[in-house]
């Protein structure tokens, strides 16, 4: 807000003109305020990233110790069926999980914002509660619900005399995991969208009311376009979340060990490479590649966002 063009011109003028001393002190104070954050940033983000890249350039051999291999680990990853399978799986997961989550959250947010609802506060809070539940607990709980031993769904199926649904079979596992993350994150997503809807200036509704637009028409041509930056931010978080998938399959592996292998998702694979196979160099390459894919997809989301907001 403060960095509007006139302010920037003034800043440039001042930096080179008189008053430079006061300016320099001002700048120094600014650096001092951001210094603690930057120190931690370098220590726990930049340094590990650099180290991961460095590690990924080496390989340890039984004979000859650790040797520099250049980008060979990356080359190996591209022909590693376990890794490629994991990447395909999380891509598929993203395509199932994100549209349903964003779609339902948008529907809930629009419904709560429609002013045609009862119990708005109660419903909003109730849907948000799962956000406070750790993903481990969510996965444990749903794992029990899905399961055959004392699972609720199996109990109900037995009572009405039908075959229990195979939530934990390899065919349905991905959907079952997606359901856990819907349960966890739809409420949060909905709350963020709802707040954005609440912040739309009321004048816009007056204009569309004059045009004779109904509630659905208003939602489609006023509300959704107005919160598009928020929708794209949330889509971006969905991409990150999908490619990081770890806790849920890691927990579900306890109840379905034959379905979820050690390389079910790229993150599980990297984890097991370090702690089971003792291959930290290759694991670093895998981690780096996953991060790189997320980076590219995130930039794609942001690029599309900028392009659309510049040419409406």
């Amino acid at each position: 807000m403060t960095a509007a063009p006139p302010a920037r011109q003034a800043r440039t003028r001042k930096r080179f003109g008189p008053g430079g001393r006061r300016r320099a002190r001002h700048a120094l104070t600014g650096y001092l305020f951001i210094a603690p954050f930057l120190a931690v940033f370098l220590l726990v983000l930049v340094l590990p990233l650099g180290y991961a890249f460095y590690l990924s350039l080496f390989r340890s051999r039984l004979v000859g110790g650790t040797v520099f291999v250049g980008l060979a680990n990356y080359g190996a990853a591209f022909s590693d069926t376990l890794f490629l399978h994991g990447m395909r799986l999380v891509t598929g997961y993203l395509l199932i999980q994100a549209p349903v989550m964003l779609g339902l959250a948008l529907f809930f947010a629009l419904a709560l914002d429609s002013r045609r609802m009862r119990f708005v506060r109660f419903i909003r809070l109730g849907m948000f509660v799962p956000y406070a539940v750790p993903s481990v607990v969510a996965a444990l709980m749903w794992g029990y619900l899905y399961g055959g031993s004392f699972g609720l769904f199996a109990e109900i199926a037995r009572d009405i005399g039908v075959e229990p649904f195979g939530f934990l079979t390899s065919k349905w596992m991905l959907g079952s995991i997606a359901n856990i993350s819907w349960w966890e994150f739809i409420g949060y997503t909905m709350i963020v969208m709802y707040a954005a809807l609440q912040a739309i200036p009321p004048e816009l509704y007056d204009a569309s009311a004059v045009d004779g637009a109904g509630p659905l028409r208003t939602a489609w041509s006023v509300k959704i376009p107005m919160i598009r930056p928020v929708l794209q931010l949330l889509a971006f978080f969905a991409v990150i979340g999908a490619f990081q998938l770890f806790s849920e399959p890691n927990i579900m592996a306890a109840v379905a060990p034959t379905v979820i292998g050690s390389a079910y998702t790229p993150n599980l694979y990297a984890y097991n490479l370090v702690f089971t196979d003792q291959e930290p160099n290759y694991a670093a390459a895998i981690s780096f590649l996953v991060g790189f894919v997320i980076l590219i997809l995130s930039y794609a989301v942001i690029f599309s966002m900028n392009r659309r907001t510049r040419n409406p």
């Binding site: 001092l32 930057l38 931690v40 983000l45 339902l104 045609r116 004392f150 306890a254």
Partner: protein, 316 residues
């Protein structure tokens, strides 16, 4: 919220959505003017969806009152006739394996509390620096920090573990606290919030009065940014309280585990069978205990996060 900050908010650029604070204030007026006849169909549909979100928790609560036999032999969504075992389960949770669950609970509280406070302070200092000071490289640095939001923390965890094990800091409390102190999204939220809530004129007059920069920050800025601070604190509290991957990677000493890793381990033992089935009721009761503090925090701090938690989304 002081009236000064509201005035500042009102002058924000028109195509930028107003702050949640302003939104909340305006909503009151709009409700009385625009509320329509409630639709029963829509309300019923939403209540049906609400059941989806609440029923698993209801199941968890009811199951926490059962022992293992009752778990297997009674309907999941109703209490078992064979006795109310909630307190027995809680007692077992806290005494099993020499009371290790209590240690896990303390660890979780310590990790989450310390990391969240540190992360919030760092984000507030940095956010203030970016919001109210102009210095060479400001945009480049901010862009870099913003870009780092895209770096998934689970991707960072393994290299961080390898680094920390070089200096023998893996398998210590620091291995959890240090990485959790970084919150680029928190810094972004604090910058946005302070640009709106801290008027430049107030800072200038404090400087004219001779107040030092740090005193201005501690006495004026932190107070004006309080709702934003609570939001960032809550976000980081939830993130660390619920974190699983980082402690799983960093720790192998059960005495240092947080609840999440401990419960997952009990669950793995329970599902592995071999006579350890008795653990199911422990996992369930432990889960209930672990989610109560955060749900309580969200209920008590509703006023804050409902205006602040959504800030990032609103500003897009």
């Amino acid at each position: 919220m002081s009236s000064t900050s509201r005035t500042v908010q009102r002058h924000s650029i028109p195509d930028e959505p107003a702050s949640p604070v302003a939104g909340r204030r305006r909503r009151g007026g709009r409700r009385s003017r625009r509320d329509l006849r409630p639709s029963n169909v829509l309300t019923l549909v939403m209540l049906a969806f609400l059941a989806y979100f609440l029923l698993p928790l209801v199941w968890l609560l009811i199951s926490s009152t059962k022992n293992v036999t009752q778990l297997f032999h009674s309907f999941g969504l109703w209490f078992s006739g064979g006795g109310f075992n909630l307190f027995a389960n809680i007692h077992t949770v806290f005494t099993y394996q020499n009371g290790v669950f209590g240690t896990w609970f303390e660890n979780t509280a310590l990790y989450a509390g310390v990391s969240a406070c540190a992360a919030t302070l760092l984000a507030a200092l940095g956010g203030y620096g970016f919001a109210k000071f102009k210095f060479p490289g400001r945009n480049a640095l901010f862009g870099m920090i913003l870009g780092s939001i895209m770096v998934p923390f689970t991707v960072l965890a393994i290299p961080t573990y390898l680094l920390l094990s070089k200096v023998s800091l893996d398998n210590t409390r620091w291995a959890i606290i240090l990485p959790s102190m970084l919150s680029p999204f928190g810094l972004y939220l604090m910058r946005v919030y302070m640009e709106g809530a801290v008027p430049d004129s107030l800072l200038e007059s404090a400087r004219v009065d001779g107040a030092g920069e740090f005193r201005i920050f501690a006495t004026i800025v932190l107070r004006l940014a309080a709702p934003g601070l609570v939001t960032v604190l809550l976000l980081n509290l939830v993130a660390t309280w619920n974190n699983y991957f980082l402690p799983l990677v960093m720790l192998n000493n059960p005495q240092l585990f947080p609840i999440t890793v401990g419960l997952a381990q009990w669950n793995a033992q329970a599902t592995a069978g071999a006579g350890s089935q008795a653990l199911f009721n422990l996992v369930i009761a432990g889960s209930v205990i672990s989610i109560i503090p955060l749900i309580a925090a969200f209920l008590f701090l509703q006023r804050y996060w409902q205006s602040g938690l959504t800030l990032g989304g609103v500003k897009g």
